[in-house]
């Protein structure tokens, strides 16, 4: 049993997961769109404002939804990442380039894609999970990096 698995954190993780799943279901079954956050964000740089209105509305609602949860639950605002400036920028570049090249991130591949049983999304999710776990291990425990 992990030292981290408390009943309340597991229940909140489950509740949050159910909300994210429901969000993805609503957007897909009602509007026909995949709730893939990186795709929405990157489309803002590639297509006209008129075609991006719904994406801007979704991303604004995303920010408000997170803030509203803290407001109503009283849960503490999470601390920012404990990463040096060069690694913060490198990490951002890798996440942006990688999710654009790989057509999706945790939301689009990991939830909507797996829910569609899309082979590409199953492979992508497995790949980024393994890459993330190995990278964290190497940087933190082999190189002794402060991340």
């Amino acid at each position: 049993m992990s030292e981290f698995l408390s009943t309340s954190s597991v229940l909140f993780a489950l509740l949050g997961g159910l909300m994210i799943g429901l969000s993805s279901v609503l957007l897909f079954t009602l509007n026909g769109r995949i709730a893939g956050i990186c795709g929405m964000a990157f489309s803002l740089m590639a297509t006209s404002l008129q075609r991006n209105i719904w994406r801007l509305v979704f991303l604004a609602s995303l920010i408000i939804g997170s803030l509203a949860f803290h407001l109503f639950s009283g849960a503490e605002i999470p601390k920012p990442p404990n990463t040096s400036m060069p690694l913060l920028i490198l990490g951002g570049l890798l996440v942006g380039y990688g999710t654009s090249l790989g057509n999706g991130c945790t939301s689009g591949h990991g939830i909507a894609g797996i829910a569609r049983l899309a082979p590409r999304s199953l492979i992508a999710t497995l790949t980024f999970m393994v890459a993330a776990i190995l990278t964290f291990y190497v940087v933190k425990h082999v190189l002794g990096g402060a991340i």
Partner: protein
């Protein structure tokens, strides 16, 4: 496209990310620290999300010919596993581990007022822009 649906979906997604602690990079990195002090809590986020999404997506794809408020389901056109998919997912995983943010939580955290979030997102958008310059299929 129905905007109230977009708003409801965005609010739910944002609240879900905050409730589950996905917006907390320390929690995320603890989840990735499988060979160290592993914090498995975030498994339940994906578990909860798929418990709802998997059966309903499958039901919708089998029984609905089109979504309620749109002409068709907008599904990704690409099929098949290629090196871009695997390479892109690998680079994404590496960046995710370094910082603890994937794109959704990074953007959802914009309201928290952390400068780190703004810098991370600027770098993320720049990384995506580089790929858009390389890949002429954008916009897709």
């Amino acid at each position: 496209m129905n905007l109230p649906v977009v708003i409801a979906s965005g609010l739910l997604f944002g609240a879900g990310l905050a409730a589950s602690d996905m917006n907390n990079p320390e929690r995320v990195q603890g989840f990735l620290d499988v060979f160290g002090r592993w914090d498995p809590t975030l498994m339940f986020v994906m578990g909860g999300a798929l418990a709802i999404a998997l059966p309903i997506f499958q039901w919708a794809l089998k029984t609905k010919t089109k979504p309620t408020f749109a002409k068709r389901f907008y599904l990704p056109l690409k099929q098949g596993i290629d090196k871009n998919l695997v390479g892109g997912a690998t680079l994404f995983g590496m960046g995710w581990a370094l910082v603890g943010y994937c794109p959704g939580p990074a953007i959802a955290s914009l309201g928290y007022g952390h400068l780190e979030v703004v810098i991370f997102i600027a770098a993320m958008m720049a990384g995506a822009k580089v790929h858009q310059w390389q890949d002429k299929r954008w916009p897709r």
